[in-house]
């Protein structure tokens, strides 16, 4: 996969959507994780969006999708005019992504707690159709894990040894009640491999996503500074 635009261009792409004069990458919790996924991990290409052997990236945390759209644009899935139309009536780009409108988006999201269940279904579907190459990577937030639907998916994915499934939890300590004992332990006890990583460290994120987890799903908990929005 060829990156058409560098990381340093992402703030300018986000400015096309928000009109803010400048965007500090550190103001967006998901930006570094998304960047590393699309640059170093996912095997996806804008000219083959329906390739059955492509990796699947499911953005479950659909709130605050500017970083997602910017990374999709940097990789040729979206163009600048589409970014400028962000949120307008004719735009494919809403404040929550609609997969039937956004080129390159695998799922529609916005209501929290749907992506993990969908990802489990996608992983099983690929296994049943003997497509063993694609990875299924789903991004959630730490507060999103409040939704009980996630617990159902985490339990079942662990028992089913869905080894092609990866969940990345962007943890910016936004959860109201917190997670005593940490988020990773919720996955670990259900049979997932888990890695805690600095969510701003590109090299560490890359190593985490490529870590071996041959017989079980992988949870990567990407820690971000407390209080960072979306």
């Amino acid at each position: 996969m060829t990156s058409t635009l560098p990381y340093s261009e992402l703030p300018a792409l986000m400015t096309l959507m928000t009109g803010d004069e400048k965007h500090d990458p550190s103001s967006t919790s998901t930006l570094d994780v998304l960047w590393v996924l699309y640059r170093d991990v996912l095997r996806v290409a804008p000219n083959f969006p329906d390739d059955p052997d492509r990796d699947r990236f499911l953005l479950s945390k659909g709130h605050g999708p500017m970083a997602y759209y910017a990374v999709l644009a940097a990789h040729g899935f979206l163009d600048r005019d589409e970014l400028r139309s962000f949120g307008s009536f004719e735009s494919p780009l809403g404040y929550h992504p609609d997969a039937t409108l956004v080129h390159g988006a695998e799922i529609s999201s916005g209501s929290l707690g749907h992506g993990l269940g969908l990802a489990v279904g996608v992983a099983i579907g690929l296994r049943l159709t003997e497509r063993t190459a694609p990875r299924v990577i789903v991004l959630t937030g730490d507060a999103e894990l409040d939704e009980g639907s996630n617990a159902e998916a985490i339990q079942y994915a662990g028992r089913s040894a869905l080894d092609r499934l990866t969940a990345v939890v962007v943890d910016n300590d936004s959860d109201g009640l917190g997670w005593p004992g940490g988020i990773a332990s919720r996955f670990g006890v259900e049979g997932w491999a888990t890695i805690d990583v600095d969510g701003r460290d590109h090299g560490a994120l890359r190593r985490a996503f490529n870590a071996k987890h041959s017989d079980r799903p992988l949870a990567v908990v990407a820690h971000i500074e407390t209080g960072v929005a979306a």
Partner: protein
């Protein structure tokens, strides 16, 4: 097709086999018929199906445990990979508990599934309110693009299931515990006229039709039989209409299809009565017949309501 039914027939006459049993018996064949078909369960039904399933079909039966949100999420994910999910449990756990998954994990993702419920409105009367399913069709009416089948006999259920699983769209098949003594419908999506009259139309849905025939035996009304209620067959209602008085008899929430009738007859001054399961919570157990009587859905209750309406 004419109605060869004794006007005073016992309205709770049941077919030898329940619709749900026919579905379970059909599952191995449906799964063998296309490798893309996958049955997703949340415990309910697993006990029935385990003995009849064998490899390689058994790998395409997923029991996710008592996790109904996941059941629908998995169905949506399977459909995103090009598979045809079949999802099955009791109506409240299929459509009410995971309603947002029905809404967002299927239609909003742009994919379809076949949802098959069993138990109807009060097929397990001793189970009480937690297991009653009469809200199902009304709930689906808030969503776009659902086909809804309400078979009245195991043979009708089988025909509708075979047709529904072969498509890619969103279909709900409502399997009731109560069945008619015989099938009446050819399953083409249109209502079937079982009797022609001149003083109004009574539409009986699925397992309600034999009691409708019994309750209207002495009235000069047209009787239409519907197993496919969404999309609603407005053409048949209009083309057979005489006096524009219409009674709907549905085995789920009373009035569920009144809006469809009103829309079908929007160019005609008309009256419509919607009979079905009443909204008030009874807090009663007992038998199916007890609940039929309590909701006015036995022959005597239907005759009373229909006579009152058509006489005024």
């Amino acid at each position: 097709m004419s109605a060869a039914v004794n006007a005073e027939a016992d309205p709770t006459t049941a077919a030898a086999e329940e619709q749900r049993e026919r579905f379970y018996r059909l599952v191995p064949e449906l799964l063998r018929g296309d490798r893309r078909r996958v049955l997703v369960l949340a415990e309910i039904g697993a006990g029935y199906l385990d003995p009849v399933m064998s490899a390689p079909v058994s790998e395409r039966i997923l029991n996710v445990g008592i996790r109904e949100q996941l059941m629908l999420g998995v169905a949506g994910g399977l459909a995103l990979t090009g598979l045809r999910p079949i999802v099955h449990t009791f109506p409240p756990f299929l459509l009410e508990r995971p309603f947002e998954q029905v809404k967002l994990d299927l239609a909003h993702q742009g994919v379809g599934a076949l949802l098959v419920s069993a138990g109807g409105s009060y097929g397990w009367p001793t189970g009480g309110q937690t297991h009653f399913g009469h809200r199902d069709v009304a709930l689906l009416d808030t969503l776009d693009g659902w086909t809804v089948h309400v078979p009245g006999h195991p043979d009708e259920a089988e025909a509708l299931l075979r047709r529904a699983v072969a498509g890619e769209d969103r279909v709900y098949v409502r399997l009731d515990v109560t069945s008619n003594a015989q099938p009446y419908d050819i399953g083409d999506g249109h209502m079937t006229m079982l009797r022609h009259g001149n003083a109004g139309t009574v539409i009986g849905v699925g397992p309600m039709i034999e009691r409708v025939l019994a309750a209207t035996a002495k009235r000069d009304v047209t009787v239409l039989y519907a197993t496919t209620v969404r999309p609603f067959d407005a053409d048949s209602l209009r083309s057979t209409l005489t006096e524009p008085d219409v009674v709907l008899v549905e085995p789920y929430l009373a009035g569920t299809s009144v809006a469809q009738v009103s829309d079908a007859l929007r160019a005609v001054r008309h009256r419509v009565l919607g009979l079905g399961v009443r909204q008030a919570e009874l807090r009663r157990y007992g038998t199916i017949a007890d609940h039929d009587a309590a909701h006015g859905l036995d022959v005597a209750g239907l005759r009373r309501s229909i006579d009152d309406f058509l006489s005024c």
